[in-house]
């Protein structure tokens, strides 16, 4: 009996050791590509800036101070709230939220449509959804810029058809940024919702219909709650990268649509940058994202009874 127990312990001990080694690649990946960069960013955000880019290894809160307060040109005025960056953050959240909503409105019906096709047409539709993503995001965004510019094919086409008398200003507008974000991240909305709808038991819709529910009530009270994990996952997958996106705002928007991603990008570009400030803005962005994810995790664990 005692020998048996000892033996069992050895086996499970060996197993645990092997499992530890097997997990090593994951730990290394997470460590090198996630934890260390984030920690580095955190450290840099508390350093002093060097004027030609880079940092001086000296503790300083000035990056966060610069983000939040305006102390005048020479830094000796009484601090006032600095609205510039908060406005950029606010705008970014609004843009990302708008893009998420836009993606949800188009993505949900699309995902539903694909999930209810026969199994071999499903594959074709999913393939079609993912085809544009074989092309680099930068190239796609530049193409979008070309399409919607004042004398681009879209405007020219509408003029030629007589729908417009004068070209519509699309480029460098909020709408253009929205369009760019929407186009960049739509599959991230479609695919998780598709996965949820795919698992949805359509007999539940029949049961609701049998219990006198009209179609839109079935959608609202039965289908949407059942596929909500996919909807929430899709929203996060669109909202989070949209919040930090800089390609679409840079290329399709103008100065008035300056977003947090571009702000951070600029701090690390060329000689004019301010690394600690860029790092501080990144940390603030990261905190915002973590707050959103925490709410999601709470909602998820509440649903799982």
């Amino acid at each position: 009996m005692a020998a048996g127990t000892g033996n069992g312990r050895t086996i499970s001990g060996t197993f645990a050791a092997v499992r530890g080694w097997l997990l090593l690649p994951s730990w290394l990946t997470i460590g090198f590509f996630l934890l260390i960069p984030v920690l580095l960013m955190l450290v840099y955000s508390f350093l002093t800036k060097e004027f030609r880019g880079g940092v001086i290894w000296e503790f300083s809160l000035s990056a966060y101070d610069q983000f939040l307060f305006d102390r005048g040109l020479f830094g000796d005025d009484p601090p006032r709230i600095e609205w510039t960056y908060i406005t950029i953050f606010g705008r970014s959240i609004a843009q990302a939220g708008g893009a998420t909503l836009f993606c949800l409105l188009i993505g949900f019906p699309t995902a539903f449509f694909i999930a209810t096709r026969s199994s071999h047409t499903k594959v074709i539709w999913l393939f079609l959804i993912t085809i544009p993503y074989w092309v680099n995001l930068l190239i796609r965004t530049v193409s979008m810029k070309f399409l919607i510019r004042d004398n681009g094919p879209l405007n020219e086409g509408l003029l030629w058809l007589g729908i417009l008398d004068d070209p519509v200003k699309l480029i460098n507008t909020n709408f253009a940024v929205q369009l760019g974000l929407f186009y960049s991240y739509l599959p991230f909305m479609v695919l998780p919702i598709y996965a949820s709808v795919e698992r949805y038991n359509f007999v539940l819709s029949e049961a609701a219909s049998d219990l006198y529910a009209p179609k839109w009530v079935i959608l609202r009270r039965i289908i949407i709650p059942a596929v909500s994990p996919g909807i929430i996952a899709g929203c996060i997958l669109v909202f989070v990268p949209s919040l930090g996106a800089f390609l679409a705002p840079d290329l399709l928007g103008g100065a008035k649509t300056f977003m947090i991603g571009s702000l951070i990008e600029e701090q690390f570009k060329g000689n004019a940058g301010n690394w600690p400030f860029g790092a501080a803005a990144s940390m603030i962005l990261l905190s915002l994202v973590l707050i959103v994810l925490t709410f999601y995790a709470r909602a998820q664990s509440r649903d799982q009874v």
Partner: protein, 363 residues
């Protein structure tokens, strides 16, 4: 059961359903009476579930009409039909509690909050789930989920309750308990039940009438005793209960009594439902429990054979008897005190067949 002055609950006329080249239902016509426990019985693919789904409104008819208490319903969507369904795997709403599930249909019908509450409480005590009202379906056992499904479907007081193999997911003991439970609920509520099953025992034990279906057509409709004792055809005789099917020829016909000849020239008296003419070929159905095994040759007519094999089944013993030619018959003998049968393998035995035990079937 069916009074002529009474309007029937469900009236099916020439109901047909085709899926491409496949005919799922082939011009089915029959009536289901008010307050009846009616069962659609048949093997999988016979069209019974399709027929139920048509009454519920989940499938359209290719042609034919369906009337519910006199009203044509074939064009109505499911949410406009005063029928409710108990689904095979219950289809309970997973994100709702027991109470919310049962209340759903009532809310959709626009009942007031107090009416809904009262009715839900009534249904919960009817199916004895008082301790589980706040649970979600995933926290209930199969039998409890089954009860919620029943309560949910019966709460809106449907004119007809449709049950699609509701017991098939339960284990044997629970299934047997639920049979009498369902029968009780049907009697207490007076709701017309249309029950779909492939389990003949379920059908026989609960139903007022059974429709035996095969390949998209109704083979026979009758009380459990009728379909068991007087099968219309070979399919019904074979599908319901156990039977021995033998090729036979009608020699003499007197009313519903046919004198038939077996391939081995053995002669038997049988009853028939059909107009049989002498010389007609057909099939004899012999129920194993209606035949008597004797070790001594009796005075009256009997078949002779010898014991090939025997299987002890608890209440009965099944004997496989080899008749004088290649035919074998299964005979059941009840194991009660003073009824022991002492025969050895290979020993000659005699089988007495009462005239009521054999049915002559023409198709």
């Amino acid at each position: 059961m069916i009074a002529s002055d009474q309007i029937s609950a469900v009236t099916l006329r020439d109901v047909r359903k085709t899926f491409g080249d496949f005919t799922a239902l082939d011009d089915v016509s029959f009536d289901i009476a008010d307050n009846e426990f009616f069962t659609l019985l048949g093997p999988s693919g016979c069209g019974k579930t399709t027929l139920l789904r048509m009454i519920a409104g989940f499938e359209s008819t290719s042609s034919g009409t369906i009337h519910l208490y006199g009203d044509e319903i074939a064009e109505l969507p499911p949410n406009k039909r005063p029928v409710n369904t108990v689904f095979q795997n219950y289809a309970l709403f997973p994100h709702m509690t027991v109470t919310q599930n049962i209340a759903f249909g009532l809310q959709m019908l626009g009942w007031s909050r107090s009416e809904v509450d009262a009715r839900v409480r009534e249904m919960i005590s009817m199916v004895k789930l008082d301790a589980f009202v706040a649970r979600k379906p995933s926290q209930l056992s199969g039998g409890q989920q089954q009860r919620v499904a029943l309560a949910r479907a019966m709460a809106p007081r449907p004119k007809v309750l449709l049950l699609d193999e509701p017991l098939s997911a339960l284990d044997l003991k629970l299934r047997q308990d639920m049979r009498s439970e369902l029968k009780r609920l049907q009697r207490e509520t007076g709701i017309t039940f249309v029950f779909v099953t492939h389990d003949q025992e379920e059908a026989l034990s609960m139903s007022d009438r059974v429709a035996v279906m095969s390949a998209g057509t109704v083979q026979q409709i009758g009380s459990p005793a009728e379909v068991y004792n007087k099968p219309e055809n070979r399919f019904v005789a074979d599908f319901i209960g156990e039977t021995n099917l033998l090729e036979a020829r009608a020699d003499k016909v007197q009313g519903d009594t046919v004198t038939c000849t077996l391939p081995d020239e053995g002669i038997l008296l049988a009853k028939t439902n059909h107009a049989v003419v002498p010389g007609q070929a057909g099939t004899l159905s012999l129920r194993p429990e209606r035949m008597t095994l004797l070790s001594e040759k009796p005075q009256d007519d009997c078949l002779k054979g010898h014991l090939k094999d025997m299987t002890f089944l608890g209440t009965d013993t099944q004997f496989e008897i080899q008749l004088d030619n290649t035919l074998t018959l299964n005979v059941r003998h009840q194991n009660s005190d003073g009824n022991e049968l002492q025969i050895q393998s290979g020993q000659p035995v005699y089988i007495r067949i009462a005239p009521n035990a054999a049915r002559f079937l023409v198709s």
